[in-house]
Symmetry: C2
Subunit: 262 residues, 2 copies
């Protein structure tokens, strides 16, 4: 079922880069309940409510799910450099806690922020073609899992657990394998060495860039769709492309407006 | 690299059903180091050595990996009914600990006991055809993950993490999605309601049965092969079949000798 404007949306990890983009994009039209471990930089506005909680702590998390129509699950230790000791509680226990709390509270739709790092080894391979694959070479969501990190492996787990909750309990879940969102404004974006693995050329981030407005659109389309299960890639319409955006366009009506500067 | 007779093989979960089958099959030809949490029913024989340890405890586990040529990782909370509280330490932390200890100790080959429950929802669907799919309908190892349980989701994770260790560190890993092994002797096998989900008919276990000698062959071929990455299904040559055994035959030279009685 589509989650229309006016409904109640819970966002975990609401203090992060993507969380901040989504707050600004959605808070005029949705009632937002924001979950973070730490106080947020951006103060809470009219339709927003802040619930401090750690996603690794089920007892602390569960009450916030009451009366919620959709969950956007962003909270994670979200770097391919993240250590296992961080990934285990934040990403693995966190994914279970969020899905289980959603089930227990009767939430009908979950949007799960997965990552291209779930299949990041294909990306490393694409370096040989400067990350510009022909359309018929691009990696789609049915490719075998090939994580490039503990972080990536945790996202494979989160997607699989979400599929179980969908198949077993009927919860609608959209898994978005999102790329790189610029920490500040889109205008600040430049291909950056520091977002890539040390051995990657600078142009890497041009091929995974997801602009703020495309990011907001992608998540909002994931609320508004009637599609009840999907794994899709989320980048802008970049000239260099490794991932097949076909399912995002087809299943979610995602229409990226931006492309990375070269 | 193939792990030939005479080499040192560590088996986790060596006290379980599959572990006992493998001990009997391999101990004449390999030196076995057996890891269990609890004392084993079957006493240690000539080429066997017992190291008590919990796979969830890295510090206790790591020393046993010294001087090992291949690891067979069986230890798990291994039921589709297993609670998350059991699956998390035994299967998820356990998979990490075993792969990380193998990497740290320079072990070249890991055989990971995955499970058909990683894709068990396809199996549920196959009930409509009495679990007897035509060859071209059978589920292969490239099908999207569709776990039927926390147990199944943990196996998706273990396979993904193993792929990461293979791609990143070059460790050879064979993931065996094994079916149902009879707890006592093969002759005792009968299709059993109690191994199936409550809503499954009795014939379910006829389609996932893996005889003791086929089980032993499958694992031994996984040691002897030069294939350095594979996910394959492991059942006997049953009349009712849901899984595509083609890759097991092709990549591991697995040649099942048995089929389930009907």
């Amino acid at each position: 079922m589509a989650v229309e404007p006016g409904r109640h949306v819970l966002i975990t990890g609401a203090g992060g880069i993507v969380g901040t983009v989504l707050r600004r994009a959605l808070r005029e039209r949705y009632s937002l309940r924001l979950i973070t471990r730490h106080p947020m930089d951006e103060p809470v506005e009219g339709n927003e409510e802040w619930c401090p909680a750690d996603v690794a702590d089920y007892a602390a998390l569960r009450p916030a799910f009451q009366g919620i129509d959709a969950v956007i699950h962003l909270a994670a230790s979200a770097s391919p450099e993240s250590a296992w000791a961080d990934v285990l509680p934040a990403n693995i226990v966190g994914a279970y806690n969020v899905l289980e709390a959603a089930r227990d509270a009767g939430v009908g739709r979950v949007v799960f922020a997965s990552s291209t790092h779930a299949v990041g080894m294909y990306y490393r391979d694409a370096r040989q073609k400067a990350f510009a694959l022909d359309e018929d070479e691009r990696i789609d969501e049915h490719a075998d899992p090939r994580p490039d990190s503990y972080y990536g492996a945790s996202k494979v787990f989160g997607e699989a657990l979400a599929r179980y909750y969908h198949d077993e309990y009927g919860i609608a879940v959209i898994c978005l394998r999102i790329g790189f969102v610029t920490p500040t404004a889109d205008a600040d974006f430049q291909p950056m060495r520091d977002v890539a693995r040390a051995d990657d050329p600078e142009l890497m981030s041009s091929a995974i860039w997801l602009s703020h407005r495309d990011c907001a659109q992608l998540f909002e389309r994931s609320l508004l769709t009637t599609t009840d299960w999907a794994v899709v890639y989320g980048t802008s319409d970049n000239a260099r492309q490794v991932w097949d955006l076909g399912s995002a366009r087809r299943l979610l009506n995602y229409q990226p407006q931006d492309h990375a500067p070269e």
